[in-house]
């Protein structure tokens, strides 16, 4: 069965921790489609949210194996209904073809920067909302996209 889960991994904030985590993901031949990480808890720890595509059993196997990695403090998988998740995307729009006013009217996009022929707008939402925003613009109108990947926290404090 294909997985729609993300891996949420809390590691000690030290060099090489990401390498160890990614090694296990690679071993199980999962493709990383999104990876966010940031330092937390006073700088001692780092939370990674990894969106992978692949077999569900492989994703669960990775989570278990990650618990064995010495720099890993916690590793869980979360399905879409178990977590609150957000992603941010910067989208560069061809303003010769679409009007910025229209983009803003229809969506919760914020203008980050605009120049003669293009503008960069910021959208925040679920991965699906960002997909919808981009396809709503029409691919011909989009010059470039940078997505952060999903950041997620479980709805319950502890599982």
């Amino acid at each position: 069965m294909r997985s729609n889960k993300v891996l949420s991994v809390l590691v000690e904030n030290k060099p090489g921790a990401l390498f160890r985590v990614v090694h296990i993901v690679r071993l199980m031949r999962l493709n990383i489609e999104g990876l966010t990480l940031g330092v937390t808890n006073g700088g001692e720890e780092c939370r990674m949210t990894i969106t992978v595509s692949g077999d569900e059993a492989a994703v669960e196997h990775v989570a278990r194996q990650l618990m064995k990695v010495i720099d890993v403090l916690e590793a869980h998988t979360y399905g879409p209904e178990e977590m609150d998740s957000r992603e941010l995307a910067l989208v560069k729009i061809n303003t010769d073809r679409v009007s910025l006013a229209e983009v803003q009217r229809n969506h919760s996009a914020r203008i980050v920067d605009s120049s003669a022929h293009s503008a960069v707008v910021e959208v925040v939402g679920s991965a699906q909302q960002i997909d919808d925003f981009v396809s709503g613009l029409g691919s011909a109108n989009v010059l470039d996209i940078a997505r952060t990947g999903v950041a997620a926290l479980p709805k319950e404090v502890q599982r």
Binding site: E12, F19, L27, K68, I70, V72
Partner: protein, 568 residues
């Protein structure tokens, strides 16, 4: 104090006796500091040898063996040895020199990203970036290598860090946040397991390498006696239960004992301790022990339900869990006697299996099984046997009875040819008081034959018994049975001459022509005070049976080449 001196002092504080290794540019400051130490450096002629020696030292003594290498090629030569230790959960600390920090990432001379190379095959890697970090780094390395499920730890130390002079303090203990090697055993799980065990009609105890690691042979044996339950093992678990005990049925697996493979298919309860249900033990996972409820005891929670789904898993140190389990069973039931249907059935199975071709005496005077059985007759019970990888190893699995824990040292997880002789050297350093013999194949032996030099230089009376079939026998067998005799890449010319090879190292080398001669020479070998090589010419055509073909299950076992083998 210099970083190099700090490494040495930290190692002394860990009570390290030996370092197995070879110096080079990037670890010279460390070697220079060793000059003043009581720790003995043992020069090995290849870093793979250093790592295997340290590995076996660890398996026999239970304390991490230490190997050391310079950066670049020294470090990469360690890889096979470290991976071998990792696959068999052996405690080891590998210390490598690294190019100075300022040279990092510049493709400096002998710069290899050894952390990148070894991360997948180590339990952990540590690279101190200042001399002040060294004492804690060394302490952590040993703590991680030796606790929980043991494994190799890499300590990679840049040369400038070895040379740096700073104020050094040595911590008494270290904290590692993400590492909790010991857990409290859940006594409710133990009670449930006891309940299942006393209710079972056809229980079997299944012991793996985890029992050796935890030093849990005693409670394991006691529990088997209390329940009067037959005991099977993995290949790594051989000897964790004395194989001369009437309850011992032997190892299961691809080349396991026929009785063991048969009886495990019939049990209604399997108590598995310190095993990982590897494909080489179980064959097809789904068809393994199909009628059994399974209880799994292990120190590593990621082993539970990894390959085989189990009914109850108990996390903890095998020694502690088994002692609790013994108590819990003893509270519920009196000691069973051998007068029960299950043990009678076992006797029947034994009787039937006696007839399989593999157990009948083979046609030639010098055959693998006969040699191996003769070794058991000659060697005192406490002797240590190490092996290479191949048919000779499998013959020992089937026919050599291991009587004491930590006396059977073999590479199973990785199956590394070349392990045998260095392992014998490591075992002898750990247990100079007992005879140490390496049972080897001609192919395996030449991979690390230079370990003879170390054996000579340290007057180690290790005996290498080489079953010389002039072939990569195990592979030949597979090509014969599964590839329609399309032999490729397996036959050797009549080289090397093992007697001359031994003599070139200053080692006594002999070729034997009969079993009696073999026994006599082996006796001499183990009572001598220097190494010996005994070459036994054997046929390359004698295959090892029983054989459960890869991916198949026990019912597909082949018991011999002849047609009659089909009846079992």
């Amino acid at each position: 104090m210099s970083g190099a001196r700090a490494i040495v002092e930290a190692l002394e504080r860990e009570k390290v006796e030996y370092i197995f290794g070879m110096p080079g540019g990037a670890n010279l400051p460390f070697y220079d500091a060793l000059w003043d130490s009581k720790i003995k450096h043992v020069l090995c002629r290849h870093e793979q040898v250093s790592a295997h020696v340290a590995d076996a030292y660890g398996r026999v003594s239970g304390k991490a063996g230490v190997c050391s290498a310079t950066s670049g090629p020294g470090a990469t030569n360690l890889v096979t040895g470290v991976a071998t230790a990792f696959a068999d959960s052996s405690p080891m600390v590998a210390i490598t020199g690294q190019v100075s920090k300022a040279m990092t990432g510049r493709n400096a001379f002998q710069e290899t990203d050894v952390i990148g190379v070894l991360t997948p095959v180590t339990k952990y890697t540590i690279q101190p970036l200042s001399a002040a970090e060294i004492p804690a780094a060394v302490k952590k390395s040993f703590f991680i290598a030796q606790t929980g499920r043991p494994g190799p730890v890499l300590l990679d130390i840049p040369k400038d860090v070895q040379q740096e002079e700073v104020e050094i303090t040595f911590p008494e203990s270290v904290q590692i946040r993400g590492y909790r090697p010991s857990v409290a055993v859940d006594s409710r799980d133990v009670e449930r397991a006891a309940e299942m065990l006393v209710k079972a009609q056809r229980p079997i105890l299944f012991g793996g390498g985890g029992i050796r690691i935890a030093g849990a042979s005693e409670p394991f044996t006691a529990l088997a006696q209390l329940l009067m339950a037959p005991v099977i093992t993995t290949l790594q678990g051989k000897g964790t239960f004395p194989e001369d005990n009437p309850l011992s049925v032997g190892p299961i697996g691809m080349h396991g004992r026929a009785e063991a493979n048969k009886i495990v298919s019939e049990c209604d309860l399997l108590l598995a301790v310190g095993v990982r249900f590897s494909d080489r033990s179980t064959g097809n996972f789904h068809e393994f022990a199909p009628e059994a409820k399974i209880i799994h005891i292990d120190a590593d929670p990621t082993e539970f339900n990894k390959n085989k789904m189990v009914d109850l898993s108990i996390l903890g140190d095998a020694n502690e869990v088994l002692m609790m389990l013994f108590e819990a069973v003893a509270r519920r039931a009196a000691k069973k006697t051998d007068d029960n249907a299950w043990l009678k059935h076992l006797e029947e199975v034994r009787e039937t299996m006696k007839g399989i071709p593999a157990y009948r005496d083979s046609y030639s005077e010098l055959s693998g099984p006969k040699i191996v059985k003769a070794m058991r007759e000659v060697l005192p019970p406490e002797s240590i046997l190490t092996t290479g990888v191949g048919r000779h190893q499998m013959w020992a699995e089937i026919h050599y009875r291991v009587l004491r824990p930590r006396t059977w040292i073999t590479s199973t997880g990785l199956g590394t040819m070349g392990f045998g002789l260095p392992a014998a050297v490591g075992a002898k350093f750990a247990r100079p008081d007992v005879p140490v013999v390496d049972l080897d194949g001609d192919g395996s032996f030449v991979m690390t034959e230079q370990a003879l030099a170390t054996a000579v230089e340290h007057n180690l009376p290790v005996v290498s018994v080489i079953l010389n079939d002039r072939s990569l026998g195990m592979v030949e067998q597979w090509q014969r049975l599964m590839y329609n005799r399309r032999y490729i890449g397996i036959r050797f010319q009549n080289i090397p001459d093992f007697v001359k090879l031994a003599e070139a190292y200053g080692v006594e080398g002999r070729t034997v022509g009969s079993l009696a001669e073999f026994r006599k020479n082996l006796k001499e070998g183990i009572s001598g005070d220097s190494p010996m090589v005994i070459e036994v010419p054997v046929s390359h055509e004698e295959d090892v049976f029983p054989f459960m073909p890869p991916g198949k299950s026990i019912k597909d076992t082949v018991y011999g080449t002849t047609k009659e083998s089909a009846i079992f």
